[in-house]
Symmetry: D2
Subunit: 497 residues, 4 copies
């Protein structure tokens, strides 16, 4: 595969591809600091480091290759797993983290001894899908173990791309052919088809064999979970899935408190524009929008929210925000944030009506919340790079807009994503879910599951000491009065927190 | 029945018992203003006032007899129902509202023509259970319609007392006897037993007949719902129940935004003490605790939260609150608020360690969150009334504490409860639930149900215009992309808002 | 003097006039509780109760006759002063506090032994100016001391009415006549002229003699201070004045934190309307407006601010508020609050454009912030009393507005004013200012002064323990580094806090 | 002069010294974006670009050479001034801004045609004072104009270094000698003495002549202003000074809203640590501390404040913060922020008691708020660079602390300082102050002045449109009522905002 970047290809027994191995020391410093902020993962190492419940597990991981993910990867390894890793976004890799993971805690730049990782900041789409394929290629591990062939037996997914690849690859193998490109196909879909076409040319059952070996997948995004429920509904899901996204300690923490942190961080690093006093439009008042609105108000912005769900709209109003359609206010807004999970929330018509140098940024999973395709096709629009991931688009109106991270997740593209403590919650759920699938497969026939509430509570419990939280304990009398065990779980399943 | 108050017993065809009929005009003014703040109920009157879906319904209502409840009652009547009403708390009746409901919009003090209502502020427990019995006695209505006997066919409940009475009454009738008082029985339970003993002396099947006639009950409190689920689990539930409490537009609105309003209101009316700068302890960080903590911070207090659930505890910490056990901080706290749904959250040991003139108040449903029984039994403690519902307890330590509303719901006892707009959400759910049970009984076999999500969204939708909220509409393309109808419902059932 | 109210005229040696002496016990309870919340005043009693620096002082007090003022009055007495008191607003008296002050801590209803107080809730303007005159009539005290004639030697003022009366009375005596009513005179001004005309008919030098005996005045409102600076500028000021309003611990505490507490309190008691989700317009972003906006946001309102000063307007924007002219938003607003110190901020034109049942309330000193005179003259407008101090005005448009406290200070008229802790700050400044004038007259030639910074800091210091504040102490090295004494004062005079 | 960096010395007629001229294009992009955020400066260009009130002014500027300062410099040029520039901090230069200023809007890298600028990120102290001298050397300008000798006639200062150099240089010339180094002299003071010794060796009256030519200085920091008041008090001030720091639109905006933005920005860029849920200690509750506390609470931290001034301490308590001495809470705190203006606020004793990996950061002007000297001398302490401006100090206790920017201003060292909009307020004051001194010298005899209030209001006014603020206008009647002009100024001088 041709690659314009100068990457540190593995010249050793360890296969990997990262931007620059010499960043490993800097990455290791940050990993060490992050461990201090990830008490949940460190507690799992303490609890399970001896018993190694994941011994024998072979995990194909597709998740932003950041410093926090490095702590996750090394936790999985500490629990006995073998791991291969790719990022799930072309911009989100932190190259020093990837380097440190390749080198490993006991290796060196000259003798990397870490985990096979395939990720760098600024991949092309072709790079991206090449990397994603690498996490399924366990040739080296097979060789090392003397096996004829082995594949992964677990997927750890973020956004569902790894799961998609397995399902689509198998489908095309069963069909005997990859479909030709169709008129409406996105560029990315064409890249996927090309990759699978190349795969099919080499092997007629590669993905079929891989799919057969997978015990299950754990998935942590709204988007990826949505895909899983659709597969299950349509009877196409090939293996059990644990929906980590809907653990309370994930969706109500990562989505809300993570964005509260990383949204202003991304805005600041990208633009250095004062948030105070500005009018900011937040599309969507789900957990992401709630975190965004709180953060922006906390910086002195005036926040206007848009919503399509009357319940969330009413919540926004009760929280003191103006709730309006974008068309009613677009000319007054200084900064636009999308976090809806939907497409074309900001259209080219909206872009053309905005103030000069309005900032447009997305914190939803996909870049189609802003009609970037429409913008790229807009006659007379000109794109000027102010700095990486910050572009001024000069519009035919004579005004410009500033688009961050080309419409992709700006908190990852312009900042460093969600901070370690938040990710420790999400990733502790991931690890517990991997253990559930691997150790108790009988509990999980093919289908989509959430983690049982006592594990969700356990994740929270592991993060209290670090914040100095004193938990009150029920007396037996009190526990009996409300009909729960002293040790929990404490709430009915439909409780909303 | 002996009654120390001078009540306006009905001297007319209309049976009722309220404190003072001449308050009706003042009550009517407030009802008129409240209607402007209850757009959900008024919209139901507009939608269903003609078709009268509740024609034939006979509703026994047990719910705080406030101005807002008056609008609910008159909405039920506008939809065709016959109604009898009692309050569900001895202190929560607003006497002018009760008077206005008895007089009715078209009656007069001399010729009351409203709804049979049995409620006044400051009932004894004996009064209270007498009143509750009245809502099941439809003798007058039977007489008016020429029927031999009729009973209610629906219960609208808050806390479950009306439902309890029917179930217990029938149980004792089936057993042929009411149990004797036992050593550990509370005073209130003895009052109930006495009432049912008197009933059984008069009729051996009164409650059995009533129970047989009930189509269902709608219940709006956490506490009442908890009882219903227990009855259903034990196979003892006699008729279907709709759990209105767990509509999002109830639990996430009434519990949170209602308390946010009424807690500081109650504190202010009771004590006039500056909240700003004070240390306030909030026991429980559920929806009630979240609303309380937000309100108190908004007034400049420093809030310390206690929790037994690690997830809620972590939420409190992430929202910036200190989380501590009461024992660790009791000496520093100026104001204590309980809203846990549990008992003995504040014990006499805690009371004895508090600062001089610390304020102790409860916003949970029952008065046992504070150990009032223990306080009353405490040797050397003296109770001084500062004003109604505000008592200084001089403790043997030489210090005093101020207890509001004798440990009962202080937002009702010291203020006027949740404001109209919030109650409009809750009560619109109640009316929709009554319609569901009455018009579509086939959908509801015996069991406990929540309202379907589209009705929950409808409740929210009916409240948007009044707040000037502009709701964004999905395009068909967007709706298809996320797999929902343009008109909703928009979320999966486990979505937490 | 004819008085429609049934007042408890003194039938004893103690002259006073209050609504109902039997309220004294209730008032005493509240005074006792308030003392716990007024650590500054109690500390002054401890510091100066022995030395009695105000022995010989005869204080004419004109200040809202509330529970807090009762603690102030009894502090002045404890420091040796003789006191006579009237309220400075026709609605602001708390009748139980007035009764308790008349009865005194050691008197009884049958044998009142407190302070001569002339105040009741709901005075007419004629009553009001009669009461104000009584604080200057020391006939009874003269008789008791065997003196021929004595007058007060200090004024403690709020709003400047007592000071105005002395200056105007003396002016007219020097002129030999009170002017005739002129066409544009307000009703209140005519009442004042009538009172002074009656005085002049009795004595040609009453006010001249009183003025000559006054050592000085302490004044605590923006409005009253403004009058004093004008008098001083025009050379008409008759005695020195201490501007207590501009102590930091007054203007930045009472005005801001007091309103933050009492504004929502007044709204709640008057209307029970949910503040959350509502659009509230706050006219003026001075200290009062800042406190109002913070409180309303803390309750979940969306606040729109208006300002005439570009600096304050920019502050409002930087604090995240929309800043708009009333004309631009009047139709969207649910609640209007004025706190500008200016007149006609809300005109009849604005009133006619408001939403149905919009709430209109003033927290500025005078009732002309809202054009109440214009409203009263408006053809077709009808006034309906919902309850005392809450009026629905039906307008010719068919819509209504709710006006609180007839446009006067709603936090006093609809609630109980600022809470004790805030007032303790203001009143500790008042007492220190009275001591300054009385004990150190040589420091204060005729003119207007603020208290020296070390006294301002002392006021703050006396309030820290009650809030559990630990103050950090400068090391000598640190004090030298920033060029201050270890004990303060710590800031340059122009420091803005 | 020896210089380890590879700097772009001017090889052209334009004298300058910057890090890398090829950064000019990137700098120009950012300047262009900053202009959109600096409406005050752009409005001055519009108002005065024609009349050029600064024609003939020769300004020696010493102020952080950032993108925002670039807009300031080009505004001064647009108003007719000639300018030479140095940075006032060895770390604060943004090299791309310096390059763009050297190149100028119409020049190119090959033919720089901008302003003589002498600044780069990471100067040594020797570099720094060499640069500062260059802004007083107008040889090139003299040559261009054919003059024999010219010097600057205005100083624009930040921190007072430029003013110090002129005063000290002249003193030593008058004394005929520069003092020898003394035992207690800091390294920096020795560098200054060496520079002036070299100057005196070349010319006996260089600084005397420069001082004589200076019309005045404008100064914008608390620290620099403090020095000026001391010089004036001691009769040593050589020319008039305008204290820009105490304009409301500077101290209440830059200090408060600037920190609110740049403090979390600096924390995030330095550490990526989640702020939410953490315990943060903020030393000092002046404008800087208020901005810090608000920002941190807005991110979900629990903030503990320390104060030495009882008034500010009481404000902190009333704003809902715990107020404690550092000794009482040091073990619980995750992040320490100093912003007091004092020294040794955090001592080595405190550092040794902190949690492992506690973060220590300063936003006060000097690095001695944290006892960095003591830390460097601490036996057994080891310093590890995590990344530039982020150091882990391993302490003899076995725990580490993270120190940001070596104890210097972390918002400049770890982030990019205050954002453009805030700086536009500060710098508009600077430009107006330069105009005042240059155009109206008769108004300013030697002394220290603040800008008149109408100019302060003008600065605010110029920033309203950009935020969509609608300012309300007084009617003539209203203006008369409060005794001001319709156009302002609106407040008395001691008003605190």
């Amino acid at each position: 595969m041709a690659n314009a970047l100068s990457l540190a290809d593995s010249g050793t027994a360890l296969p990997f591809k990262v931007a620059d191995l010499t960043l490993a020391e800097a990455g290791r410093h940050q990993i060490r600091l992050a461990e201090n902020e990830m008490p949940g993962l460190m507690a799992l190492r303490a609890e399970f480091g001896e018993s190694k419940p994941l011994a024998g597990a072979r995990i194909a991981g597709s998740l932003h290759m950041t410093v926090q993910t490095a702590v996750l990867i090394e936790t999985l390894v500490a629990l006995g797993a073998q791991v291969r890793w790719a990022s799930c976004n072309i911009f989100s890799t932190q190259d020093e983290a990837a380097a440190a993971i390749a080198v490993g805690p006991h290796g060196s730049v000259d003798a990397p001894a870490g985990v096979p990782v395939f990720a760098w900041k600024g991949e092309t789409l072709e790079d991206y899908w090449w990397c994603t394929q690498q996490i399924f290629d366990w040739t080296a591990e097979a060789a090392a173990s003397g096996a004829d062939w082995i594949g992964p037996n677990l997927i750890l997914d973020d956004g569902g791309d790894a799961t998609l690849l397995v399902h689509s690859g198998r489908d095309f193998e069963l069909a005997g052919a990859v479909p030709a490109d169709a008129a409406g196909d996105s560029h990315e879909y064409r890249v996927i088809l090309a990759a699978l076409r190349a795969s099919l040319a080499t092997s007629h059952d590669r993905w079929t064999r891989i799919a057969a070996g997978i015990i299950g997948v754990t998935e942590e995004t709204t988007t990826g979970v949505h895909r899983l429920y659709e597969l299950a509904r349509d009877g196409k899901l090939l293996f059990p899935a644990i929906n980590v996204n809907d653990s309370v300690t994930k969706s109500k923490f990562d989505n809300k408190y993570g964005i509260r942190h990383s949204l202003p961080d991304g805005l600041n690093r990208a633009t250095d524009v004062l948030i105070g006093g500005k009018v900011v439009f937040v599309a969507g008042y789900g957990d992401v929008g709630k975190g965004a609105a709180e953060a922006l108000r906390g910086q002195g912005a005036r926040v206007i929210v848009s919503e399509i769900d009357p319940i969330n709209a009413l919540q926004a109003a009760m929280d003191g925000f103006q709730v309006a359609r974008i068309e009613s206010v677009v000319e007054q807004v200084d900064i636009f944030i999308t976090g809806t999970g939907n497409l074309n929330v900001i259209t080219t018509e909206h872009l053309l009506r905005m103030k000069h140098l309005a900032i447009v940024a997305n914190v939803g999973h996909f870049d189609n919340e802003i009609d970037m395709a429409g913008l790229e096709d807009l006659a007379g629009a000109e794109k000027i790079e102010i700095k990486p991931q910050v572009h001024e688009w000069r519009l035919p109106t004579g005004r410009s807009v500033l688009v961050l991270s080309e419409g992709r997740l700006m908190n990852l593209g312009n900042a460093t994503g969600h901070p370690s403590f938040v990710m420790s919650n999400s990733f502790t759920n991931q690890v517990l879910a991997q253990i559930e699938l691997y150790c108790y497969p009988e509990k999980y026939p093919v289908g989509v599951y959430v983690l049982p509430k006592h594990l969700d509570e356990k994740v929270a419990r592991l993060h209290l000491d670090a914040l100095g939280v004193e938990l009150t304990e029920l007396t037996p009398e009190q526990a009996a009065y409300i009909g729960v065990s002293v040790d929990g779980p404490y709430k009915v399943d439909h409780y909303r927190y």
